[in-house]
């Protein structure tokens, strides 16, 4: 019967055992040399990495001491930025009435000499309602033309005429006054 394996550790196979040992030694020597070379390379990398680490730790310590030296100023700056943030946040509650009021007054003054802003309300979402009073028909026509122009409409993202009233006039000739009430939203 033909042998299917070699018992390298068994007795009576000295030559085979010797060849096996030699093969193992060659493999180990080759692999050992490669591993040693890799070990040297890794060590070189490690030395360079340690040097880099040492430098970066030194840099961090320098920066920390710089930060510590300016701790007082930094604390004041943090306070200032936090309070400015609060100011920005809380200021959003405000209507900013006067700029919008002035804008509307100036715009209306361009429309007609006899028009005046009778009532106005503005909230902090820029929603507005205002009524304009005019003394004569010509002023009313001028005003209506102006209201339809882009120059006027550009001030608003949304605007509708909610009421139109004919009122007892203030003039001596008993002419009627015209009251127009608008509702909308400033841009």
């Amino acid at each position: 019967m033909k042998k299917k394996y070699i018992n390298l550790f068994g007795k009576g196979h000295a030559a085979e055992q010797s060849r096996f040992n030699a093969l193992i030694r060659w493999i180990l020597t080759g692999a050992g040399v490669l591993l040693f070379a890799a070990f040297i390379v890794v060590n070189l990398f490690q030395i360079s990495q340690q040097k880099e680490l040492k430098e970066i730790i030194g840099k961090k310590n320098d920066l920390l001491s710089q930060t510590l030296n300016s701790k007082d100023t930094e604390a004041k700056m943090n306070y200032l930025k936090a309070k400015l943030n609060q100011l920005d946040t809380f200021s959003k509650d405000d209507t900013l009435f006067v700029p919008y009021y002035n804008l509307l007054r100036e715009t209306l003054a361009q429309a007609s000499n006899s028009s005046y802003l009778e009532t106005i309300s503005i909230d902090n979402k820029k929603n507005t309602k205002f009524s304009v009073r005019l003394n004569d028909f010509d002023s009313l026509m001028n005003f209506v033309h102006y209201v339809e122009s882009d120059r006027f409409k550009d001030q608003f993202s949304d605007l509708i005429l909610t009421s139109f009233n004919l009122l007892e006039g203030s003039k001596a000739n008993k002419a009627k006054d015209y009251q127009l009430t608008f509702s909308g939203k400033f841009k």
Partner: protein, 230 residues
Amino acid sequence: MTKQKIFGVELSLGGREELSTLVAVGVFLVIGGLFIFSLKNYLDAKDKTANYTQEVVRLEQQIKNNQSDIQTIGSGNLDGYNRVLSALIPEQEDFYSIINALDIISQESGFIITGYTIDAASLNRQKIDLKVEGVGDSLAFTQFLQSYQFEGGRLITNEKVEFATAGITSMKLNLNFYNKKFAAAAAGLSRPLNVGDRQRLEEIGRKIKINLTGTTETAAADYKTKDNPF
């Protein structure tokens, strides 16, 4: 030749070949161990370097931002600006400064405040609601509306204004006053400070008559709103 059993295998260790094979295995294992040890150290050092680098970048950015902010604002003005801001939004509510603020705005605008009511439910909040009644002509009221936000030395907002432009009118307004504690961990402005911020602070400082470079001073000379928190 002596025979020994190692790991269940019978070896004739007296033989030079077997011995040298074992030595080779031993040396290989030692080199392997050293290699793994070095590799681990190298990877550890690399990780640490990456973490420290991140920290250094963060610190550098922080210092750079701080220097840029200081350059924009001017380190000499910091105390003054902080006085302005802590007067506008005090750390805790100070009712005397509310009354004082209303008094100052009333005097400066000519809109006479005839009464005010504080919403008791808002007393422990950061936002105090105050219903104010006053009389004045449209000019005085417009003047009041123009100056209420800062000129009293407190930040005041008004969520809705209803205004009849003709004649002497009695007006009712809902005003809000604010207070908020400063917490070091609280989020400040996420953006760097700019010249606009400085101009705004200068303008508010002029309005509320706080000396930005010296001691605290308000329009009502006998009343101090808040000290510098530092």
